[in-house]
Assembly symmetry: C2
Homo-oligomer: 235 residues x 2
């Protein structure tokens, strides 16, 4: 993507003198700025004019490509979801032993959420809107969630090997992992303020990562109803 590549002309040249057309770059530039704006300020709080200003182009182009503020917001959301799904699809956990596979999956989820606060914020915002925008999205509806299948295979392998006794479903397990990782980021600000514990601190992060992994693993090894006590002491 060099400046003299004829297929991708320098996008900053979308200004007045000697303007070069570059639809894809213009579109992506708008999306990048819009993602930041909406993630920071929400859908209602985000301003189309503010987005346009920080763009290489003008407000006119936002409406040219995305039709409306809502259209732009939805496009941002769709790209954010596409991103995480694409990365999830590269997860190759089938060669690991079940417990290690689960720990690796938790590691990935934890780190991804931690590093993509924008995504977390967009999802929170969309939930505030009761997912009403997402309902209209054919893009998001058609993104198949391979994590669930991945987890399903790991659980099967673990049960066959006799290391997992809990009959938990893949979706429920995913919910549990996501909930913890997501909450740490999404509710960081109020939690830190109330409980005086900085959830963004590196040592806290490491401790929490180990904690959720331990909790999930010991849940999977327990039978799902009775306490996980060694048989000799169970009585």
């Amino acid at each position: 993507m060099t400046a003299d590549d004829p297929t991708t002309p320098d996008a900053s040249a979308a200004s007045k003198p000697g303007r070069k057309n570059n639809p894809e770059a213009t579109k992506q530039n708008i999306l990048d700025v819009a993602r930041e704006e909406f993630a920071n300020l929400g859908f209602s709080g985000g301003r189309v004019d503010a987005i346009a200003e920080r763009t290489r182009t003008t407000k006119r182009m936002i409406y040219y490509y995305f039709g409306s503020k809502e259209g732009l917001y939805l496009a941002v959301l769709e790209q954010a979801y596409s991103d995480i799904r694409r990365i999830e699809n590269t997860l190759d956990l089938d060669n690991l032993e079940p417990e290690q596979a689960i720990r690796t999956l938790i590691d990935f989820t934890f780190d991804y959420q931690e590093q993509h606060e924008d995504f977390i914020r967009l999802v929170s915002i969309e939930n505030i809107h009761r997912a009403e925008h997402m309902k209209d999205s054919t893009v998001i509806a058609n993104l198949n969630v391979t994590v669930i299948d991945t987890i399903g295979r790991i659980l099967d392998a673990g049960r066959t090997a006799g290391v997992f006794r809990n009959p938990i479903s893949p979706t429920d397990l995913h919910l549990m992992i996501s909930a913890f990782c997501f909450f740490r980021v999404s509710n960081r600000h109020t939690f830190t303020l109330i409980f005086h514990q900085d959830l963004a601190a590196p040592d806290t992060r490491a401790r929490h990562k180990a904690m959720i992994a331990d909790a999930i693993i010991s849940l999977l090894k327990s039978d799902g109803t009775a306490p996980a006590l060694p048989p000799a002491l169970a009585m």
Copy 2:
């Protein structure tokens, strides 16, 4: 609070002919309507005019009592937090055996979050705003969080009794419980849409409540680092 109680005159009489002043009722009426508005639409999405319209009084009074849209929003947030803290303070878990106390606490947290979606939404919204309003609140800063002390006593008792081996901190435990209960409500809409599992369904709710309880209990009984395998199999 009958209509002819002289200390609490009928609040609906705050209209034109034969108007009766009733500052407390007017204030609370505004707060009730505002909570609904902000919980539904967020701070930026909420409209002062819309709130005023659904109130027994006028917009003028919103500014008379709360100064600004932000002041009103903060008052709503403060009351929501005061509510949950007040109820938390009535929790009396010290007479239960440790495991039962933890299960009861989880039960309470789960049910409270489930039944107070408004609170969940307000907290989510405040986190979208990076808790910037809450930072200015002396009210919320001075609400001491007794759950943490409660959990601390339960953990101590459990360790003394030998049922809990995990050295987890009260705050970390609270985080873990809250995360799951909160997420189920806060992210219900996107999760349901993507994973085709209605998180509001009664049977799902019951299953999840049992699941989080089992996970927490087996975490507490494990030693916090090694997998919770019976010694004979641990090798």
